[in-house]
């Protein structure tokens, strides 16, 4: 044996040993999931950024690099107006949603309004339903000629002309505002419920009246929650496509999202200009979400001390019936009226604004739902099948990812965890339509384009953070030692995950799954950019019907979607409980 070979074999076994100790189940899964999350989140954003500097020449054949698209944002005939309209809609609906959300949360959490515990679930229903469907319903209620409310105003009260015209930018503000009010509600109600009553009592003892106490103590304490909710509503409204597409774009009020849509799939498609608009919208929303996450969300807990308080319940006296009426009115205009209207319209062969009981038929449901029949409308029936596939498959895959990502963030201390934590917040900052533009320009030349896979990829990328939050909340409450003791008992990382971690997280996993199921089932603004013939989703089916067919058919499919969503909401409430959504 020569003296030289010995160190070399030692050296070799050293590296073999190192490699072996690195290739653990935990490390392999961690690396794979990190790469997937990294690629899924970063790739579309980088491609979007790069594409925004590609300028299409006037003939549409070739591209050059430059800032031309950004110049166009200012010089275009429509885009600057669309930008202003987006700001008006977002500001208006933020104000409306905040006023509604805060007042309803206060009534339900802190007053003796009758039946408040029974009313709360119904106050939250719009959160789960599709605002696009809301817009369709309100179109049928408030359209000047055929809108039910206008027809009734004329027939019953002899009103001249139209009571209202919903097909305006203010109609968009109205529908968006009432549908996003529950978002503000959820951000505020938690801190109202958990507030230390002595904070208010001590203000009352100094001689401050009720109104004064509310204005100077209660409201400032829940301010971070209100601001968080308001910012989220602003960002979500700015990224909302369905409502302006239905109510304002056809009548001359374009928004950034409707413009992005027409640049992405319209006749004058210019993906690069679309990417530029998406970039500018994305920069605004990311900036606002960053402010919310960095400065406002962390403060919301400092106002709430401890737990187990019974908050002061305010005796409203006779005014409690006013609060009750106010609460019922919200449920009436946000839930009952739209759904009733959809049912009525969907039962008529054609809709003229008149209820004709003898003409009523289920034919619209047959044509939009019975996919096995020859005369069914393909776009609608495809949508049902595809959306169910996407909702079941997508939320399952997303929850698996969310589980691994949460596990890594909370249970491993290794390299890259902070990056992963960051990556799982980033998608929240981008409206679906922006992310979808990024996915479109990234994958348009790959085989997954025009398949369900591209939709699933975009859905999961955009929404898995919601699932991740559901799991993380529970994981933070569970001691790490429960996992560690399983490893010490001799179980591998995977066995521990399967037998200990997942069973303990089951409620969070299931609640997150249903939440994603609901979100995926009604998704529109990603789907509208990425669908193609054959891969229509439920909401795209509704879009198709409202664009190319008639209102009764649209209403029928809308109702079908709404019924499935209502069932899912019921299951969600049973599983997740009352506090699951509150921030």
């Amino acid at each position: 044996m020569s003296t030289e070979t010995l160190p070399r074999t030692v050296e070799r076994s050293l590296w073999a040993n190192r490699l072996r100790s690195l290739l653990t189940q935990e490390n392999i899964v961690t690396i794979i999931v990190s790469l997937i999350v990294g690629a899924a989140v970063i790739l579309p954003l980088i491609t979007l950024f790069i594409s925004s500097f590609k300028v299409l020449d006037p003939l549409g054949w070739d591209t050059t690099w430059g800032f031309g698209n950004y110049v166009t944002l200012f010089t275009d005939r429509i885009i600057p107006k669309a930008f202003v309209n987006t700001l008006i809609i977002s500001s208006g609906s933020t104000i409306l949603a905040t006023v509604l959300g805060v007042s309803l949360a206060w009534i339900n959490a802190r007053t003796n309004c009758p039946g408040r515990d029974y009313l709360e679930p119904y106050n939250l229903i719009p959160f789960f339903l599709s605002p696009f469907i809301g817009a369709i319903a309100w179109h049928n209620l408030g359209e000047p000629q055929t809108g039910l409310l206008n027809v009734w105003a004329r027939e019953i009260f002899g009103f001249e002309g139209a009571l209202m015209n919903i097909d305006t930018i203010w109609g968009v503000v109205w529908v968006t505002g009432i549908f996003f009010a529950p978002l503000v509600y959820l951000f505020v109600v938690g801190s109202l419920r958990r507030m230390d009553p002595s904070l208010e009592d001590s203000a009352r003892t100094t001689g401050a009246g009720l109104v004064r106490t509310t204005m100077t103590v209660t409201l400032p304490l829940v301010m971070p929650g209100i601001l968080s909710g308001a910012i989220i509503v602003f960002v979500t409204s700015a990224g909302e496509f369905g409502v302006p597409f239905k109510l304002s774009a056809p009548y001359g009020w374009e928004t950034l999202t409707t413009q992005i849509f027409s640049k992405a799939v319209g006749d004058d498609a210019n993906h690069f200009l679309g990417a530029t608009m998406a970039m500018s919208l994305g920069i605004i929303t990311v900036f606002l979400i960053w402010i919310q996450q960095r400065y406002i969300a962390p403060r919301s807990f400092t106002t709430v001390t401890g737990k187990g308080f019974r908050p002061n319940v305010l005796d409203l006296g006779q005014w409690r019936w006013v609060a009750f009426g106010y609460n019922l009115s919200f449920i009436f205009v946000a839930v009952i009226l739209p759904i009733a209207c959809l049912i009525i319209v969907s039962l008529h062969p054609v809709w003229t604004g008149k209820i004709v009981p003898e003409a009523m038929t289920f034919n619209n449901y047959v044509k939009t739902l019975f996919f096995w029949r020859e005369d069914s409308i393909q776009a609608a029936t495809n949508g049902i099948v595809n959306s169910l596939i996407l909702a079941f498959g997508g939320s399952t895959i997303a929850m698996v990812m969310a589980l691994v990502v949460s596990y890594m963030i909370h249970r491993t201390k290794g390299f890259g965890v902070r990056l992963l934590d960051f990556l799982s917040v980033v998608p929240i900052g981008f409206p679906g339509i922006v992310l979808a533009m990024g996915v479109l320009v990234t994958y348009i030349q790959t085989p997954i384009y025009a398949t369900l896979w591209i939709l699933m990829l975009a859905y999961i990328t955009r929404f898995f953070p919601y699932g991740q939050r559901n799991i993380s909340a529970i994981m933070m409450a569970i001691s790490e030692e429960l996992d560690q003791s399983s490893r010490m008992a001799g179980a591998s990382w995977f066995t521990t995950l399967w037998r200990i971690t997942i069973p303990l997280l089951k409620p969070g996993i299931f609640a997150g799954w249903i939440l994603l199921f609901i979100i995926f089932l009604r998704e529109l603004s990603i789907s509208i950019i990425l669908f193609s013939t054959g891969t229509e989703t439920l909401s795209v089916g509704v879009y198709y019907l409202t664009n190319f067919e008639n209102e009764p058919l649209t209403a029928a499919l809308s109702m079908a979607q709404t019924v499935v969503l209502l069932i899912a909401i019921y299951v969600f409430r049973r599983v997740a409980g009352r506090e699951a959504l509150t921030a």
Partner: protein
């Protein structure tokens, strides 16, 4: 080659180093223990005791050093070796007990055996045996969440020993129990460990727990080992001010060694209001003539008398004398220093009176500052 019988050490930790960011949590410590021994790592929070335990468990990696048990190398970064925790064959009792709430007591305890693919009939027998050993036979089918803190503690211990692992690790297991239960569980834990005879490492910040349970104690601070020894040795012959302060109660007075009369004996000069006093005492390790030293005297070794006897007495004034039945807990002002003294009730000490303190050279120890 059987290193176990060669060196007598079963668990061996060599030059363990673990950094957390820029701070060394454990800074180059080494120790070994024979098979069946009960070793306690004692120190305040942040001293590196839990980090050492986690390194042995494999719940985190180490930066350098080597840990082996018997012939199995657990971890050795230099050789590129890291045995994952589940392959180390260790039983561990956690601070929070970590009893899985979605399983019954039996399911919890059977888990390590199921993982080791032990036949079901044998699992049943061994689980029943170990539940009897810890006194939980009646609770076998209860859900873990229905147990009290002390019962969860026992279930956790049962789960740790059921597979008869090579090593048993305890991470402050009693710190969540109330005082009475804690004192009861100390004795119980020690009895069960004796019975199963598994080599154990116990981490705690509670010195009385360490004194009661351990064969050997390692006192740690700031990632270093300060002293290692049996409970009596640690208590009666601490090597430095830190250890004598941490273990039990001690009067600690700064001084200087003036004379070494014979190996291990000498005099230390202490100062009271400019007046130098020579005190005969034992010298700890590392103490030589002319070096700074700290006199360490346990309160029970200070003799307080109302009359001045012979030799070097310290004259002071009783600040406080609390009668506790078997003894009197006193505070005596001597210059700027306040002595803690345990006196016999017959000494009749009263607050405000003059008292003479006499130090027995046998029980007065000069240690390193």
């Amino acid at each position: 080659m059987d290193s176990e019988t060669q060196s007598g050490t079963y668990l061996e930790v060599q030059n363990l180093v673990k950094w957390f960011g820029d701070d060394p949590a454990v800074d180059n410590i080494s120790f070994g223990i024979p098979k069946g021994a009960f070793l306690t790592l004692l120190g305040p929070s942040g001293c590196g005791k839990t980090t050492t335990l986690m390194s042995i468990a494999g719940l985190h990696s180490i930066d350098s050093g080597r840990i082996r048990v018997g012939d199995v190398v657990y971890t050795s970064p230099k050789e590129g070796l890291f045995l994952p925790p589940e392959k180390r064959d260790i039983g561990m009792v956690f601070q929070s007990y970590a009893i899985w709430p979605h399983m019954t007591v039996t399911q919890n305890v059977a888990y390590p055996l199921e993982i080791r693919k032990v036949p079901q009939s044998e699992i049943d027998d061994r689980v029943a045996d170990v539940l009897e050993l810890v006194g939980l036979t009646d609770m076998a089918e209860k859900m873990a969440t229905q147990l009290s803190g002390g019962q969860q503690q026992r279930a956790s211990l049962a789960r740790a020993i059921v597979a008869q692992p090579r090593l048993l690790l305890f991470d402050e297991p009693l710190s969540n129990l109330d005082l009475k239960l804690r004192e009861q569980m100390r004795v119980e834990l020690k009895r069960i460990q004796n019975e199963v005879g598994i080599t154990s490492i116990y981490v705690t910040h509670d010195q009385s727990e360490a004194l009661v349970m351990s064969d050997e104690i390692i006192v740690m601070s700031k990632g270093h080992i300060e002293q290692r020894g049996g409970p009596l040795e640690i208590y009666s012959r601490p090597v430095n001010e830190y250890v004598s302060n941490f273990i039990g109660v001690a009067n600690l007075i700064k001084g200087r060694v003036t004379q070494v009369t014979e190996p291990g004996r000498g005099t230390v000069q202490i100062t009271d209001h400019g007046k130098d006093i020579q005190v005969a005492c034992n010298l700890g390790p590392g103490i030589s003539e002319g070096s700074d030293a700290v006199l360490s005297v346990r309160p029970e070794n200070v003799h307080a008398e109302r009359e001045n006897g012979d030799g070097a007495s310290l004259e002071g004034e009783v600040l406080q004398a609390i009668f506790l039945g078997s003894h009197v807990d006193c505070r005596v002002q001597w210059g700027d220093f306040e002595w803690k003294v345990i006196a016999h009730p017959r000494a009749h000490l009263k607050a405000g009176e003059k008292v003479y303190l006499r130090l027995d050279p046998e029980h007065t120890l000069a240690v390193q500052p």
